[in-house]
């Protein structure tokens, strides 16, 4: 057969499976075999050593601190990222003594899986959206920008509006299609990594609420709103059972 073409050799080098004839030819042809070896050398030199999870070395404990201080990160962001579950730390509200400090939520693994699964299942069929209107300095900006927001339960759709200015911001949220529950519905602001949560309050029986947003909450950081179904069990943590959630940054 003819010599194997360059493209096939390149693809073999990068790890694609060749056809049986190509495979056979390369093994028996010195020229193609040399060429493949040269290309494979490039690929293997460049491929990141794919360390097994177990082979990963833990970076020095002070590495993150050095990064955070070199970048002058905010105190919030300086929390040392833990290897597994993040340590419980308080979300601080300096100057806001009216609210008890809440423990930071554990990483909501189950709830993220549910989110991913729902997002995949619902796809575009859900037809539900949360719309944010952000008003800053009296200019109205729609910040949806094409980003699809999630209904985590197919029957629910949520809408939220932030109004007011820095001195007095209000979050108005409405959720349609509330499921039956013996518990209650709680509204949260969270950061994108879903590791920092602030409880805003609860929905009224009609599925809506207008909630004051503390001045010192940075909405660029807490850029996601979430409504959860909470059982009456006296635990302040997020239940992991969300109805709607959406970022407004686009």
């Amino acid at each position: 057969m003819e010599h194997t073409d360059e493209e096939t050799l390149a693809l073999m080098a990068i790890g694609e499976s060749p056809s049986a004839p190509d495979d056979e030819h390369v093994r028996t042809c010195a020229r193609c075999s040399r060429e493949l070896q040269a290309l494979s050398h490039v690929a293997s030199t460049m491929k990141a050593p794919g360390p097994d999870e177990r082979d990963l070395l833990t970076p020095p404990a002070d590495l993150w601190d050095s990064i955070a201080s070199e970048l002058h990160l905010s105190t919030q962001s300086r929390l040392v990222p833990a290897e597994s579950d993040l340590p419980e730390t308080a979300v601080s509200h300096p100057g806001d003594d009216s609210r008890p400090k809440r423990p930071k939520a554990r990483r909501l693994g189950r709830f993220s899986v549910a989110l991913a699964a729902c997002a995949a299942l619902l796809g575009a069929a859900a037809g539900s959206t949360i719309t944010w209107w952000i008003t800053r300095d009296n200019s109205s900006v729609s910040a949806v920008d094409g980003r699809r927001l999630d209904s985590l339960q197919a029957s629910s759709a949520g809408y939220a509006r932030l109004s007011g200015n820095d001195g007095h911001r209000l979050l108005k949220i409405t959720v349609e299609g509330l499921p039956k529950t013996s518990g209650y519905f709680e509204v949260w602001l969270m950061d994108r990594s879903h590791t920092k949560l602030v409880s805003m309050g609860v929905l009224g029986p009609d599925g809506s609420a207008t909630l004051p947003v503390p001045d010192n909450i940075d909405l660029r950081e807490y850029s996601v709103v979430d409504v959860s179904v909470q059982p009456y069990n006296g635990k302040p943590d997020h239940s992991g059972d969300s109805l709607v959630r959406g970022p407004y940054a686009g």
Binding site: E6, A10, A38, P59, S77, R192
Partner: protein, 186 residues
């Protein structure tokens, strides 16, 4: 368990959300540190390089376009560049040592390429950065994320044939760079 998705994390990072930087470190700090340590063999240097990667990536985040690849691949690319810079800084002495060792290696061609040559790594990292953007993008996905051609096509929206021809062109150019400058793999 991933929360949020790597895509969301990439977007948040690009937009300057500090919590995403923290999460990126939590997710990939150990990986990048391990890669740097394997390449450099020196824990202190590996730590410095990993710090430079996160600091440099954060300050240069406007250069990261989530549409052109994952944050993980981009950080891995930055890591490779910083490692290559570090290796280059280790003095010209390296080249002299390397020249001797590659000559020795060339006389035993049964090396299976995985025996990492420092000089090759530096040259190839440099060449990768010089490739046209599309070639660079598809190769980085293949190198750093171990994606198949079909997955790369899906991720980039490029036709599979285009992905394959970019892979071929880019890889050949890198191979030629070694033949011109590396001298050990003709």
């Amino acid at each position: 368990m991933k929360s949020p998705s790597d895509d969301d994390l990439g977007h948040g990072f690009a937009e300057g959300d500090e919590s995403c930087l923290n999460e990126a470190y939590r997710r990939w700090g150990a990986l990048l540190f391990t890669v740097a340590l394997r390449r450099l063999g020196d824990p202190e240097e590996a730590k410095d390089v990993t710090q430079q990667v996160f600091v440099g990536a954060w300050r240069g985040r406007e250069n990261y376009d989530p549409k052109r690849g994952s944050l993980k691949a981009w950080l891995m690319g930055v890591t490779h560049k910083k490692v290559a810079d570090q290796l280059t800084r280790r003095s010209r002495h390296l080249r002299d040592v390397q020249a001797v060792t590659t000559q020795a290696a060339a006389s035993s061609p049964q090396q299976d390429g995985a025996a990492d040559s420092v000089l090759d790594f530096v040259l190839l990292t440099d060449e990768l950065e010089k490739l046209p953007e599309q070639q660079r993008t598809v190769l980085k996905m293949a190198f750093y994320e171990d994606l198949t051609q079909a997955q790369i096509a899906q991720r980039t929206g490029l036709p599979l044939g285009t992905v394959k021809s970019n892979t071929r062109r880019g890889l050949l150019r890198m191979k030629n760079r070694l033949e011109v400058d590396g001298g050990a793999h003709g």
